[in-house]
């Protein structure tokens, strides 16, 4: 049977240990068919001044120094402990972790969306919303302020929600399918050139402008 998990099914899965969302600080986090997720304690923000544009070629493994430098200098990391706040300006994008540690079984897929109350304030939570079956770790939220005034955020706020869907068949799961963000403890930049080097190199050879 496939479809979205109801509150009762989510609780059943949590009780069996099959599904992990830890911790759930309050019963209000368990919605009719979703679990609310709280903001964690790190914010990773792109350094606007350090790059002219996002360039997949900068991630190519050929130039180890440049690739490493691009990775290291791409983001500014802010520790935002409980009690502190982070101001998200209009048009800005910031990566934050969830407070919760999540582990999905092989027959569940997760979808992360904004809580509607925050969306109405202009806060967009995630564009890459799918959580693969078998994933474990924090979930990285891609927060963007679509409104016209800055939004003050603080760790512990319920800003996102996780809906869960059963798959028709369990995913066959091995290390190669784990994805580059499996077992994440905090947000980090991805590798946009990963496994696509052939196209980027072809563009370079053609003398891209």
């Amino acid at each position: 049977m496939t479809g979205a998990l109801s509150r009762g099914s989510i609780i059943e899965r949590l009780l069996s240990g099959d599904l992990v969302v830890s911790p759930i600080l309050s019963e209000v986090q368990l919605g009719a068919s979703s679990v609310d997720l709280r903001m964690g304690t790190v914010a990773l923000m792109a350094r606007a001044g350090s790059q002219s544009h996002v360039d997949p070629a900068a991630y190519l493994s050929g130039n180890a120094h440049q690739a490493a430098q691009t990775r290291q200098q791409k983001h500014e990391r802010f520790e935002v402990p409980f009690g502190a706040t982070f101001l998200l300006h209009p048009g800005s994008l910031v990566l934050v972790p969830t407070l919760e540690w999540v582990r999905l079984p092989k027959n569940l897929q997760g979808v992360v969306t904004a809580r509607s109350s925050w969306a109405r304030e202009g806060l967009n939570i995630a564009t890459a919303t799918l959580i693969n079956p078998g994933y474990q770790g924090i979930i990285t939220l891609e927060l963007a302020n679509f409104g016209e005034i800055p939004i003050r955020l603080c760790p512990g706020l319920r800003i996102a929600q996780l809906a869960l869907y059963t798959l028709a068949t369990s995913a066959t799961f091995d290390a190669t399918l784990a994805g580059q963000f499996d077992m994440s403890f905090s947000p980090r930049a991805g590798n946009i050139a990963d496994e696509d080097e052939v196209f980027i190199k072809r563009t370079l050879r053609a003398g891209r402008s």
């Binding site: 240990g17 830890s22 911790p23 402990p81 409980f82 502190a84 540690w101 582990r103």
Partner: protein
């Protein structure tokens, strides 16, 4: 330029240095408190230097000392600015250090100001207490240093319990207690630390293991022998301080301190026989801490059967492998160890949560089980009725669970275990915050 003018110039230089230090971000709490404290001290110095009265040599020396210390501290902080470190662990560590290092002053109590740095090398773990407060109305600065490479390795961070001992020793208020109730016990008549001479006799004992004798023989090239060992080479009082601080570490962090100490010290000095100028042989310290842990009943296993029992026993068995069997490594008798620990706990118990809280095996077992499942170990579970249930867990038990889980059937790598425990300490702070709401 006379001394007063030179100090005025140096005051301006230090002030500029302080302002320049704001070019960087310093961890999650920023540097505001530290900046303001240094700024206040500099304005005192400025007033002092600007007073119409003549300044005597003592005044000038005092001002020079204070400027020097501020300058060194600001430079060290700027060199080791951190963007990322294990702040959840630091937040808990601060709770331990703040109570016991709070001092009385003119207008009440003065808790220390704590600042975190990163250093290079495995031996970078330090807590630098300011040796003297600049004046009775100022707070003491404590700087905590973590090895940069081990920033997320919370299982090793309990080694800072030893450094809490040094910070305690730096507190005028606590020193008298430590001298009367702990050092006096360690120096008890008939013991191997009765005096410098007695310790030297034991150190150079012909029954000492060969590797220890070889290490001491190497010192003969420096014309160091039994007669002048503690005058020319090592400082006996500092050796005693180190031993006292090891016991404070065990009393604050419990088994995790013993595990971190055995692991780190044995890595830095695998044979455990090197005699440092300030440190007694590592083997003496390890044997002392392991025996002290036994005398505190920390190694007493859960009843049989208990799901935790096997990995618990394996954890303590592994620690025992660090113990050197030769009697030369045992420098205190059980009565001394028990009495010294009593003295330390008398002090720590006045400042909860400084003393290590005893473990509930069931709760510890649940934490270990969570780790085995690849989940950060915290006080959270779902009740049978399907409601989320949160509970308080001391961060030292999270770390202890991390150590024990290393001996479960399918342990995670040391790195992952540390990251899970670090994450758990952060999550537990959220749980405690949520539970503190009325």
């Amino acid at each position: 330029m006379n001394a007063r003018d030179f100090l005025k110039q140096e005051h301006d230089n230090v002030k500029q240095l302080l302002e320049q230090s704001l070019r960087y971000e310093y961890g999650f709490e920023g540097s505001q408190e530290f900046f303001e404290e240094c700024g206040t001290r500099l304005s005192f110095i400025s007033q002092w230097l600007g007073s119409p009265d003549e300044l005597v040599a003592d005044d000038l020396a005092n001002i020079g000392y204070q400027l020097n210390e501020l300058s060194k501290l600001i430079c060290r902080i700027e060199r080791s600015s951190l963007g990322e470190y294990s702040w959840p662990f630091v937040e808990e560590l601060k709770k331990l250090a703040t109570g016991i290092c709070t001092e009385d002053g003119l207008e009440g109590q003065y808790p220390p100001k704590i600042y975190v740095l990163a250093g290079g090398g495995l031996d970078a773990y330090r807590i630098y207490p300011e040796m003297r407060r600049p004046m009775a109305s100022r707070r003491r600065l404590l700087t905590i240093v973590f090895p940069k490479t081990l920033k997320h390795f919370v299982l090793l961070h309990p080694i800072l319990g030893h450094e809490i001992g040094h910070a305690l020793w730096g507190c005028t208020k606590q020193q008298a207690h430590l001298v009367g109730k702990v050092l006096s016990v360690l120096k008890r008549l008939g013991g191997k630390f009765e005096s410098e001479d007695v310790t030297a006799v034991h150190l150079f004992d012909s029954q000492a293991p060969h590797d220890a004798q070889a290490a001491l023989a190497a010192l003969a090239n420096l014309r160091v022998d039994e007669a002048n060992f503690f005058g020319q080479w090592a400082r006996w009082e500092f050796w005693l301080d180190e031993i006292l601080c090891d016991l404070v570490g065990l009393a604050t962090f419990g088994p995790s301190f013993a595990a971190a100490q055995c692991g780190l010290l044995s890595t830095l000095d695998p044979a455990g026989v090197t005699t440092g100028r300030m440190h007694p042989p590592v083997g003496w310290r390890i044997n002392l801490v392991l025996r002290a842990a036994e005398l505190l009943n920390l190694s007493e296993p859960p009843p049989d059967p208990h799901p935790l029992r096997q990995s618990f026993l394996a954890f303590w068995d592994e620690l025992q492998r660090f113990r050197r069997p030769e009697p030369w490594f045992n420098v205190f008798d059980d009565n001394q160890i028990v009495d010294a620990l009593d003295g330390i706990f008398q002090l720590l118990n006045q400042y909860p949560p400084s003393g290590y809280p005893k473990t509930d095996f069931d709760a510890l077992g649940e934490l270990v089980q969570q780790l085995a499942n690849g989940v950060p170990p915290i006080g959270f579970h779902m009740s049978e009725g399907g409601a989320p249930v949160c509970s308080r867990v001391d961060f030292r038990h999270i770390v202890y669970a991390g150590w024990i889980s290393r001996h479960s059937l399918q342990p995670h790598s040391f790195d992952i275990t540390n990251r899970l425990c670090e994450h758990a300490i952060m999550q537990q702070i959220a749980i405690d915050t949520a539970m503190s709401q009325p």
